[in-house]
Symmetry: C2
């Protein structure tokens, strides 16, 4: 008998029929002798409907109140799923963020989990109930409702799995697992049987939207084995786990593509200690997640250019903030550019192999793709390129690094 946390995304609970399907799956896991905690997202489309309402009222709604409105999506889902399980003669009980007591900081719309009080859930499991927990939401010290940011239900699931010391955390989604790259971009993409936390983090942060990056961080920290599986099939999916020897034999595990980037360049920044902290500290305070950061070596005048990217939804807020900071720092002008995509290759094997970056640049050059910014880490190399070249770049890299499987026919595989 194991303790399993299952998380179902918005598509998986998109309508009443699908909620019944999820109920059957959760109950089957329970009836196989496991303790089951289920985390659910809002029904597909619901979060956007709610955000549309808040935006009709206010162009820049207060995030506290927006969280109050938006968190209702998950609340509806947990109630309905608990009812669906009961309707199948299962025992179930819904829990909201303030009922489990998922304590977060007060960064509305992008809060971080601080602690989880597992006692109520253990009580529920002792009563042989399936505990159905609202994803995405928490509560701060003052009792305000908070949300964890888009995809936050994954984080809820993994944090619960860690707090409950679960044997596994299964993330159900509408794809069969983690792929070498987006199958819609490259028809030779292959499903991975397993991938390391580190690689998954790079893939997630780089736009493979299967898992929220923070959930993978959590899973790695607490060594929670994560299964990424499809709600609509019995395929075992992809196991995300600690790195092992065999993983290192593969040079590149996947190619990530993120289209939704805005690039900023702050020109002629005085190259003094603490300057970068001023810029990025101010953005962090606003809850803006900065992605790639590149600072050029200082010029002879003691000034430097700082380039970075943020997700498109944060671009307006970022531009406003950065112009303010640039003025305070006596820096030059702030440039903003949309239509930027980021193409990255990811693999723990890179650590022990030379020449991977060179090969990447060579492939992109051969395709006539101009590289705007390069950024590297131990296990990934990212290139910012024009949106219009991005897909071609992904396909070329997928082939060049030996990831191609047989081409897919239609929607199969």
């Amino acid at each position: 008998m194991a303790l399993i946390v299952q998380k179902y995304g918005g598509t998986s609970v998109g309508d009443v029929e699908r909620i019944r399907k999820v109920a059957r799956r959760a109950l089957a896991t329970r009836n196989a002798g496991n303790d089951v905690v289920v985390v659910v997202s809002a029904m597909a489309g619901e979060t956007n409907r709610l955000l549309k309402l808040t935006n009709e009222i206010s162009r820049r709604p207060s995030e506290r109140e927006q969280d109050v409105v938006v968190s209702t999506g998950e609340q509806i889902s947990v109630g309905l799923l608990a009812l669906a399980i009961q309707e199948l003669n299962g025992s179930a009980r819904s829990f909201l963020g303030h009922q489990v007591r998922i304590l977060t900081d007060s960064a509305f719309s992008n809060a971080r989990i601080r602690s989880i009080d597992a006692a109520k859930l253990f009580d529920s499991l002792k009563r042989h109930e399936i505990a159905v927990v609202a994803g995405f939401q928490g509560i701060d010290e003052q009792g305000n409702i908070t949300t964890l940011g888009r995809g936050g239900s994954d984080t809820t699931a993994v944090a619960l799995a860690a707090a409950l010391k679960a044997d596994a955390c299964e993330i159900y989604t509408d794809v069969e697992g983690v792929y070498t790259t987006d199958p819609r971009v490259c028809d030779r993409a292959r499903k991975l049987e397993r991938i390391s936390y580190e690689e998954m983090m790079e893939m997630a942060s780089l736009g493979s939207k299967v898992l929220q990056i923070r959930s993978v961080e959590f899973a790695m920290k607490y060594k929670v084995p994560l299964w990424v599986r499809s709600t609509f099939s019995d395929d075992p999916g992809t196991l995300v786990r600690e790195e092992d020897k065999a993983m290192e034999d593969v040079l590149v595990s996947g190619i990530a593509l993120d289209r939704n980037e805005s690039r900023f360049v702050v020109r002629a920044v005085p190259d003094n200690p603490g300057v970068a902290a001023r810029i990025f500290g101010a953005l962090a305070e606003q809850g803006i997640v900065v992605d790639v950061i590149v600072q050029s070596p200082a010029r002879e005048d003691g000034r430097t250019d700082v380039a970075f990217t943020v997700g498109r939804p944060d671009a307006d807020k970022t531009f406003e903030q950065v112009k303010k900071i640039a003025e305070q720092l006596g820096a030059g002008k702030v440039e903003r550019e949309e239509g930027i995509a980021k193409v990255s290759i990811v693999g723990v094997g890179m650590r022990n192999h030379a020449g991977v970056a060179a090969k990447m640049f060579q492939v992109l050059g051969g395709e006539g793709v101009n590289i705007r910014v390069i950024s590297t880490s131990e296990i990934k190399i990212s290139c910012l390129v024009d949106e219009k070249h991005a897909e071609r770049a992904v396909r070329a890299l997928h082939t060049a690094f030996g990831l191609d499987g047989p081409p897919k026919r239609g929607q199969e595989g």
Copy 2:
């Protein structure tokens, strides 16, 4: 400077434009120098949409989970209204049942308020905020979400007014006040300038759907002056307050009509002490509110018939329960009848006047309306009649008791 609690119903916050209108009205009250607490219902149609979802999943959904789902309607409203006030440069903050701590019993879907912790609201008012509180919802001792039953937002508003010792409680709705009878049934209905709590309770419980009865009980108990007003006009509305001498000069204040009744008769009930308690105790446990109860004098065989009515939505549950109890009691068969309406005349003046009942029966007889059951209290007389005669009965009584105003033209007045 006064402390005013305003309550806006579902129609008043039915869309974004109307929410803006409510925000303007609340802010105008605040800017006139008052402390303002606003209670809101779910946007019109939202509660039904949510109930439809729970009913699609389960024919008889668990009321705990149903409350989790249904309470999201008010949660959305408070967030949106707080945003709308902020958008007008007002200061506002939303509060949910568990945040104010509106403590209720655990009768899901029909809970009663036990206490309210006003401290958080006073803090909010001290910060010069308009406190926007979710109606209809509370939390029980175990932290479960509860709801107060249909129209429960009125009760929330009055209970808050009592807890905060507010100077007035304004109930905004889509009608101009309390009428002598339903203007859709009788075009000579008149708006009342004032009415006593007692009369209002009888009118409310008898189907004048302007105020939830429990809210009037609360208002009477704590002497909260209640204004029933229209969101869409500046008419002062109807004041519901303590009885005074002038009220007694009016024989009948209003005619109430409730169409939505189901009648049950339990035949041949053993006429022992405690029998009625067995029947109605079992129904109360299920949260079923029983309306008219009539027990005939015992027959020679020591048995009696017990007749009562419940609201149509509770009829199925009631039938099931009562059949069970009847069997346990060794009673005869249980009859059930739909299509019953209740016509009542209400007035504190009745106490001091003889012959009111006789006049009522005479008017109904003259109209050829057959009376099925009669029930009387100090200030009201109710007759159950066939649904199809109900409107005719109301019009005839309205004229006979001198309530007619000039006939209305179209939607005016």
